[in-house]
């Protein structure tokens, strides 16, 4: 009986802990958004975050997209050949990238690069009392650190996704024309004919959601980092893991919302 009670108690503790964490993150998100409507807004911090999160993530997102597009073309060609459907390569590459792989892989790459960097930066600020210093200098840390980063990521990641989509389609095009003997004009024609505006827009909306998640997780775990180097390390790890899991889970929910019949 004691073993069963202990087991149930452990499950209960885990569930309560998880619910409490979800509540804390929800409140953190609400507080962040509420600062949008209340001045001041730190434009310089926002601009800096846009460069750090958007511009400097471009190489990694771009390379991921190019190689994914190329690999996707090879896979779809090999799979399609089983039932004489090789011609679908351009359209499936385009749809697959814009709807799913572009936003998800882009989001995950940004999570690895940005959530970790934000959590480590803010976590270090926390343990070196820089967050306390901000407060004593009459500057709200949520306004100065969190809001600019979350807003910048929410706006920059959809643009990264759009650029990644284009580069991914280019990767597919290069492999299709160079390796799979498609005519350049035919490949582009098939890509454009079957791609709809909503394919691209839905991917960009997903990108905005993923950008919000990435920056929010980085800021949340950074702000709640415990003392010392180990605390900052744990915060960084937790931010990347939470951002990645939430990206995949929200991707499923958004796909249900956008594309279920």
């Amino acid at each position: 009986m004691t073993v069963i009670t202990a087991f149930l108690a452990a499950i209960g503790r885990y569930v309560l802990g998880t619910l409490a964490a979800i509540g804390r993150i929800g409140l953190f998100a609400a507080r962040t958004i509420s600062h949008l409507a209340r001045p001041p807004f730190y434009w310089r911090e926002f601009g800096h975050a846009l460069v750090q999160i958007g511009w400097l993530s471009l190489p990694v997102v771009g390379m991921t997209a190019v190689f994914t597009g190329g690999a996707l073309a090879l896979q779809i060609y090999a799979g399609g050949a089983r039932f004489n459907a090789e011609t679908v390569v351009p359209s499936i590459v385009a749809i697959g990238l814009t709807r799913e792989l572009g936003p998800v892989l882009g989001g995950l790459m940004v999570a690895a690069r940005v959530a970790s960097s934000i959590a480590a930066e803010i976590g270090t600020m926390k343990v070196t009392e820089q967050i306390d210093a901000l407060t004593t200098l009459s500057t709200n840390p949520m306004k100065y650190l969190t809001l600019p980063r979350v807003l910048a990521a929410t706006l920059a990641v959809p643009l990264l996704v759009a650029v990644g989509d284009s580069l991914g389609i280019m990767g597919g095009f290069l492999v299709g024309v160079g390796r799979l003997d498609f005519g350049a004009a035919t490949y582009l024609h098939n890509t454009i004919d079957f791609l709809e505006q909503w394919d691209v827009i839905s991917g960009m909306i997903k990108g905005a959601a993923f950008g919000f998640i990435v920056a929010l997780m980085g800021c949340y775990y950074g702000m709640n980092s415990s003392r010392g180097a180990q605390g900052v390390g744990s915060a960084t790890k937790a931010a990347v893991v939470a951002a990645s899991v939430l990206i995949l889970a929200s991707n499923y929910l958004l796909t249900e919302l956008f594309f279920s019949a």
Binding site: A133, T135, T136, T139
Partner: protein, 248 residues
Amino acid sequence: MIELTDVHKAFGNNHVLRGVNLTVESGTSMVIIGGSGTGKSVALKSILGLVTPDSGKITLDGKDVTTGDRDAFLARFGMLFQGGALFDSLPVWQNVAFRLLRGSLARPREEAREVAIEKLRRVGLKPDVADKFPAELSGGMQKRVGLARAIAAEPEIIFFDEPTTGLDPIMAGVINDLIREIVVEMGATAMTITHDMTSVRAIADNIAMLHDGVIKWTGPVADMDNSGDPYLDQFIHGRAEGPIEAVR
């Protein structure tokens, strides 16, 4: 005047403050001494609202610090943090002029830079330090930049958290002299927490000994050596034997 009345604060089972009562008169320099982990920093941070007390009352000039305009309240304070707490991503002059570049005290950028350079000069740093980043400075220089930042907006009240920790004796002496000079020159109210008895004698008008979550003794620094309080005596003479357990 800053007044703490029966202030309690616990972190889980760790009851750090167990009813702190302390009065700091305007224009005086109060130094809080006590062993590591006795709640000195928590007491200081409670006044600023960085830590929320579980119970008790803290007032500034008779007004509860938790009520009223928080920005206006914080604008009256400057604080030198133990490690400097300088913002790594900003050059030194922007650290010093941080308050003057944004918010209610904002000034034009050039004017803020001039004030920063003037404050750096006041703490004995040359203008060429202004464009360096904190990571390029020694520990003593970082403390001085932190001090320049604390006084940049000419606050009425300045808090110093372990101002000489980690510094060599000469640099500690320089910082102590600077603190004393600046506090006298500005007519500011100062609260300092430290373990360093040389600092205490250099900076304090009054001292308060915090132990076991309460103020064990408070009075003028001149009375410190003849207080007759066993806790204070043990602490100021650094004895291993006495009412304060050496292993905590």
